[in-house]
Assembly symmetry: C2
Homo-oligomer: 196 residues x 2
Amino acid sequence: MNKKTDLRIIRSKHSIKRAFIELLNEKGYEGITIQDIADKAMINRNTFYLHYQNKPDLLNASMDELLEELNSTLNLCSSSKSPVSGSKLEQLMQTILERIQDSTPFYKALLLDENRIYGFQSKMEEIIKNTVEDGLDNTPLKISKELLLQYIASTFMGIVIWWVKNDYSYTPKELASQFGKILTHGHLKAAGISDD
Amino acid sequence: MNKKTDLRIIRSKHSIKRAFIELLNEKGYEGITIQDIADKAMINRNTFYLHYQNKPDLLNASMDELLEELNSTLNLCSSSKSPVSGSKLEQLMQTILERIQDSTPFYKALLLDENRIYGFQSKMEEIIKNTVEDGLDNTPLKISKELLLQYIASTFMGIVIWWVKNDYSYTPKELASQFGKILTHGHLKAAGISDD
DNA sequence: ACTCAAATGTCGCTTAACTAACAAAAAAAT
DNA sequence: ATTTTTTTGTTAGTTAAGCGACATTTGAGT
């Protein structure tokens, strides 16, 4: 639709986001100043305000964009109308890990340690819950759906964070496979979901 | 002096050069179109013409800039007023190799194979000759100075090109050391220059 | 509590870079 | 050889981004 956005706008926004992510990894959100961003992005400080209201605005915009990418990737991948199962969740996990790997510096900055304050984690959890729920539609459950969703989402986040923190010690495929084994041998049966 | 060049100008020129070098490695000089450069640099084609007259102009400007950097580096390093000697030339070689390594993609594009047509090689030779000649001032020679300079420059270029072509098979220090050995055991004595 | 320095937002004014469209030159295709 | 397509330079008008300067706000240091 907006096929013809001015090149300068695209460039400026790109540079700002790139600079922002780099700075996040270098000095953490709080320590970043608008001038820092401007310097690293090679733009004038004023230009920043042409595109974002302030630092939190940039942070939110960046997070939302990143999560939107994740979300649409997940929607594509889980569009197959098969019911939820262990292998389905394993596939989901793999997709998420791959997506993260493609945007490493950003996830690293937002997921690790003290950075979790900014609500990124819970937004990401929400996405996972929704994705799983969509594939869960009319499956009869033996336990509370909300509880199950929360449980699954927590598991996902725990593994993801551990993985990022440990500098991708496994490939997405390997890790997802291990995750799948835990799932099928663990609580899934208890919930009445077939493990394949 | 020009402390305050407009940020946009700096950015544009940088992007153009970066894009140009990448394209040189991707498809070679002849195959590059101005639009290619504009696309990769994320600028409008018109902007290119605000900074360079045409493709050859950009090529020359880039080469001159690169060689100027090399030249000033060499002037700094060979400023020590010691007479020419094997170890001196070895040091010179090492400096050149290190300089090249810092600007790998550009040298790679300009020095290898068919690209040599553009006169980059001979310009670089010239710089080497001048540098060596400066350190040669009033040393009495037993053979023609011009011949000696041409010989040395050719040796340098031969080694450099071989090194770039073979993807930096040695470290600059190692290669320079081997070069030094060839020098001192070879033609230097014949020219009446002490080998230390 | 007070001071000074640094960072934030916002404002005109100027300029580089944008879009779009053009004719001429070069390459490719028929 | 001749049409078609691509690439080249160039122009005119518009817009994003530059610069400098300003009043506030915020934070550290004393």
